[in-house]
């Protein structure tokens, strides 16, 4: 992986140096650079500019429901020091962390089974079944869970027939995790399946030939090989769960509210876009930290391996 990225960077430098030579300007090598231009523009217009705007707005004021340019720190102090925001931050962080741990813990054995135990035919089928939900409406799937989990819903009907229940399944930490895993689990499994499918089988066979039991093979061969993928699956799950609005709203009835719900509440009454932007920026900082941590975890292993050489 490292070797590959080094080559890419080297070739990129070479490409740009060609570009600077006037006689090469018309050469076909310019084309890739030209093709990347729309992407750069797109990112500038739809990502960088709104991001700057988001930060700028946090210093603005709302007067009689109208957003007015200003430079006040009041929005920041009001949000950061409010117990409501602090509670929501802790809650959202705890919820997203739980989802991350659950998603990786559930995804790993599932991905291992799909990648190593199933026949190629069954593996393709399993991957297809994992991809389909990504293309179906998340909102629809959450409404479906409401029907399954509601007090007089399908789950309680089944439990009732064997003498259990009725359990308060909907509205609480359990249903919230069900909702968030609906969003993140298929993606986590897919990431790990693709990573595991890429493991060199001879390594596994070598470990087995040397007398490793299944557990040791997983721990010492499979896990280290897919470490970056585990980090990627974990960060993806965290990002999805941390920013999600639909599951907290519909699976728990915003009890308690997460940061995304707090954003909506802040705008809903009094059109407080600046204060909502403060929460938005705070969320982005948290996500950037989570992303950084994921990268660091993924890179740690390779760095160590290179040290050992």
């Amino acid at each position: 992986m490292t070797a590959a990225s080094v080559t890419t960077r080297a070739s990129a430098i070479r490409r740009w140096s060609w570009l600077s030579r006037p006689r090469m300007a018309g050469s076909p090598a310019v084309l890739p650079a030209m093709l990347s231009l729309p992407v750069v523009l797109w990112q500038a217009v739809f990502f960088a500019a709104p991001l700057v705007f988001l930060v700028v707005v946090t210093f603005w004021q709302v007067r009689s429901f109208r957003l007015e340019p200003a430079f006040v720190l009041d929005n920041w102090s009001r949000i950061l020091f409010s117990a409501t925001f602090q509670r929501a931050l802790l809650h959202t962080f705890a919820v997203a962390s739980t989802t991350t741990v659950l998603a990786v813990a559930l995804a790993f054995p599932a991905a291992y089974t799909i990648a190593f135990r199933l026949t190629p035919r069954m593996r393709d089928l399993a991957v297809a079944f994992l991809i389909v939900p990504i293309f179906s409406s998340y909102m629809l799937r959450i409404y479906a869970w409401q029907i399954v989990l509601s007090p007089e819903g399908m789950a309680n009907a089944v439990l009732g027939s064997i003498g259990i229940g009725p359990l308060p399944l909907l509205g609480g930490a359990f249903s919230l995790q069900v909702g968030l895993l609906t969003l993140s689990l298929p993606i986590a499994v897919l990431i790990l399946v693709f990573a595991m499918a890429g493991i060199d089988r001879t390594l596994v066979e070598a470990a087995e030939n040397l007398g490793c039991r299944r557990g040791r093979v997983i721990l010492h061969v499979v896990v280290p090989s897919v470490r970056p993928a585990i980090a990627l699956a974990a960060t993806t799950s965290f990002l999805l769960a941390f920013g999600d609005y639909i599951s907290p709203l519909f699976m728990t009835g915003s009890k308690p509210p997460t940061l995304s719900i707090l954003i909506v509440d802040t705008v809903k009454s009094g059109s407080q876009w600046p204060r909502a932007s403060v929460i938005g920026v705070a969320m982005l900082v948290m996500l950037a930290l989570a992303l950084g941590l994921g990268q660091w975890l993924a890179r740690g292993r390779t760095a160590r391996r290179e040290d050992a050489r």
């Binding site: 705007f53 340019p69 409501t84 029907i147 009835g253 915003s254 009454s269 009094g270 059109s271």
Partner: protein, 376 residues
């Protein structure tokens, strides 16, 4: 980060301003004034569903015009939209009574001539509805109203059990109290349960007492629901008691077989009221006036009362009469029969208080208390 940068040199600042203003337009809900000058289009700022063909088709045909609705959800959004749109963008606005003084104070609505509208046809109680008049001048004509009390699951609770808001704190209601996620009617109900009349005009001590009482409801709460979710929560039994909502939700559910009803508890209930006003700066004043006349006519009133998405009570006795003649069954279901018990009973029994914005505190104070309650 350098905190000084937005205060930097003028050119950068104005550049920022221009870019940012363009962004602000995209981010907030500004109405395109493209049809502002079209004499055949009536621009209508309203709650969703009020330009349904059932309601307005007849008016459109009679006057050869189209009604173009800009929908808002909640008075705050309505004020934000009207604040951000150039004058002339809207001709008519439908507003909740508690926002009328803000519309009037910001000079967004025109004074109306009472003689233009059939106010004499209204129940005497509503002919001089206080929230629509300022300094003896009329600014909005009432189109419909309803009550907010305590809605309950009739399989789990008897009317006797929910005769007082105290039912919310009962052991039976633990984890079963749903809330409509809007501070105003929810906290208004709690204020009523504390004996505050009027519930929104309370001093600091009473406000603190109300907050404390609200916070004590936390163990009882099942969740905080949006409009869409309150219907499903009442249906699937997640919410068995909901304060601060009314027949605008439970009547439709009951007609679909869900065991729910609304009671006005002994401590009282709230009244929501919608009215139509002419927006200042409209070039189509005559058309706007005609639209208000149409909506408050007996035919327009009956349509308002019987529209599919939510059922409303109407202030016009002439409308009641026509409803009883043409749809006697609906009149009975809607409790608008002229003989026997009807929706005016609670009003006459003085059990009803107007839903209003907080008088002695800022909206933000109430809203922050609500957010805090949710996050407890």
């Amino acid at each position: 980060m350098r905190t000084s940068f937005p205060m930097g040199d003028i050119s950068r600042r104005s550049f920022l301003k221009a870019g940012v203003a363009a962004g602000a337009l995209a981010a907030t809900s500004r109405w395109s004034p493209a049809d502002a000058d079209d004499p055949k289009v009536l621009n209508y700022l309203s709650w969703p569903g009020n330009a349904d063909p059932y309601l307005v088709e007849q008016f459109e045909k009679e006057n050869g015009v189209k009604i173009r609705i800009k929908e808002y959800v909640g008075g705050d959004q309505m004020l934000a939209v009207i604040n951000q749109s150039p004058p002339g963008s809207f001709d008519v606005v439908l507003a909740d009574a508690e926002y009328m003084h803000l519309l009037h104070a910001a000079d967004f609505v025109e004074e109306l001539d009472p003689a233009d509208y059939p106010l004499k046809d209204f129940w005497p109680e509503f002919q001089n509805f206080p929230l629509h008049w300022f300094d003896g001048k009329l600014y909005g004509v009432m189109t419909d109203f309803g009550y907010l009390g305590l809605s309950y699951n009739t399989k789990e609770f008897t009317p006797k059990e929910v005769a007082s808001y105290a039912a919310l704190w009962s052991d039976k209601a633990k984890g079963k109290v749903g809330f409509f996620d809007w501070y105003l009617p929810s906290m208004g109900s709690i204020s009523l349960s504390n004996g505050n009349r009027p519930p929104f005009d309370i001093d600091e001590a009473k406000f603190e007492a109300m907050k404390e009482k609200l916070f004590s409801l936390k163990p009882q709460a099942s969740g905080f629901y949006t409009i869409a979710d309150i219907f499903s929560s009442l249906t699937n039994g997640r919410a068995q008691l909901v304060p601060g909502i009314g027949e605008w939700i439970t009547l439709g559910l009951r007609m679909n077989g869900v065991p729910v009803d609304t009671i006005i508890p002994e401590e009282g209930g709230l009244q929501w009221t919608e009215s139509l006003s002419i927006v200042k700066g409209t070039p189509k004043r005559d058309l706007a006036r005609k639209f208000i006349q149409y909506t408050t006519s007996p035919e327009g009133q009956v349509k308002m009362a019987t529209k599919v998405d939510n059922k409303k009570s109407i202030p016009s006795i002439a409308g009641w009469k026509l409803l009883n003649q043409t749809m006697p069954k609906e009149a009975e279901i809607l409790r608008m029969t002229l003989t026997g018990p009807n929706v005016m009973d609670e009003y006459k029994a003085k059990k009803i208080q107007f839903r209003q914005l907080p008088k002695q505190q800022e909206i933000a104070d109430w809203n922050d208390a609500w957010s805090e309650f949710k996050s407890l």
